[in-house]
């Protein structure tokens, strides 16, 4: 299977990365090369094999549902590109 420019653009859109037509054209053969190489995994007979989810046996811990760090607003917003009135500010979403 081969990745064409339209597919590259669709993937870029899913990944929220703006790319130009030229970039998409340049990226298609690169992705094809890498995807072609990883396709050899299809050779491996994995009948009855469970996909690995945890590399070292470990049970997921849950913590108490309590507030541990109250009132960190200013610290949370400290690195925001734009913060207003104690909130993250973004372009208008609803007209």
């Amino acid at each position: 299977m081969s990745v064409d420019t339209a597919t590259v653009k669709r993937i870029a859109s899913l990944a929220r990365i703006a790319i130009t037509d030229d970039e998409a054209q340049a990226m298609a053969p690169e992705l094809n090369n890498i995807l072609g190489w990883i396709e050899q995994l299809g050779e491996v007979d994995c009948t009855g094999i469970e996909p690995m989810t945890a590399v070292i046996p470990n049970t997921l811990r849950l913590r108490e549902d309590v507030v541990t760090e109250p009132d960190q607003r200013d610290l949370v917003l400290a690195n925001a590109p734009q913060a207003e009135h104690g909130f993250f500010a973004v372009p208008k979403v609803i007209e």
Partner: protein, 494 residues
Amino acid sequence: MTKLTDLTVAGIRDGFRAGDFSAREVAEGFNAAVAGAKALNAFIVDTPDHALAAADAADAARAAGDAAKPLAGVPIGMKDLFCTKGVQTTAASHILEGFVPPYESTVSGKLWEAGAGMLGKLNLDQFAMGSSNETSYFGNVISPWRRSDGGNAAMAPGGSSGGSASAIAARLCPAATGTDTGGSIRQPAAFVGISGIKPTYGRCSRWGVVAFASSLDQAGPMARDVRDCAIMLEAMSGFDPKDSTSLDLAVPQWEAGLSSDLKGKRVGIPKEYRVEGMPAEIEALWQQGIDWLRDAGAEIVEVSLPHTRYALPAYYIIAPAEASSNLARYDGVRYGQRELPEGANLQDMYAATRSAGFGPEVKRRIMIGTYVLSAGYYDAYYTQAQKVRTLIARDFAEAWDHCDLLLTPTAPSAAFALGEKMADPLAMYLNDVFTVPSSLAGLPAMSVPGGLDAGGLPLGLQVIGRPLDEQSVLNAGLALEERAGFTARAEAWW
């Protein structure tokens, strides 16, 4: 007297405790070395004041009769993937340029608690994606090593912990933190002739470490010798309730347990690691390593890891898949760069920010990850890769029926020159062929220098151990180190 910057971590610690020198003298020596080595581009940010403050605290404590902190008086380098409170943390990316964490990563916090000071934030491959340090937004790191052919080609220090590797090899710091996703501690350690260990997945907390591939990422130390790796690893490891993958286990006393007597240990030589086209020098070094371990008392056995050849393609599905998910957080809303073209809506802002903020290799991996996770391809690629990962881990588990450790080369070649492999992403990926399988299985693994190639460049040997058996890995590393007697160092040109 030995220059202070030539001392190991143990040498500094012991000398400081004995009152041979002050911590301030040590910090000043390394600060000067860092300032004088800009040509290596090993640091993104220098933090001489942090190192001096820790040194002064150590000196004050010693004056009050307390020099007991394990790293008192020892300044180190911090890979710029660890969030450090009040100090810019970028993961060598443009998108995080100017990001100043209001919190401290667990690992760096543990090191400061142990008395260490920070010389600066070390350069790396952008978001730890790369094997040569050519993907940093802040420019390539240069290895202090040069080929002995008279040429002046700038050599790659390996990646992604290339800044850490370069800085240690050039004596800009006695030790540094690294992180290893598919070999990012071991391969750069091998390229510059130092030691580095990736512990068992879960030993070191990942909290506050900029995430790449969460099921693989693991922090570890890099230093000039095995003892220093043990000292650093003890300080970095331990349970952290803030990381759900952190193992709730006591930290062994690895330094106290060091012994190069390998009697009763069986060392497996995986036959599948004899890859086609492997340079004769790598083959010869591997044989030398086998002889050294036998000399240390180990019994050598041949073992088989039949799915080895599928580890790399599985890795290049799993790691990008996790990266595409992890890096979704960089959208220009909460931190880092924001691109807001005229009249752009929120979606446009995300796409423009990410396009401008990520380098080509990061974009490539996000795209591959997005593709393999997308509808219609998920099972064929991602689920299949996770099944292959099960088989790779099973190969290791079966090998442990026959041996206690594995010995392999660390990388398929010595360091290459910067620019030599950049044009072909696939050729670059193949550099990790020996380090990736143990990463997929979460096993502890370390690289120690074994010798030099014909071009005068360092070559590394890799020891892989059972889960949680860092002690045996360190001990075998020590046995190799004692026999290799590796003392070569890069001549200062920077």
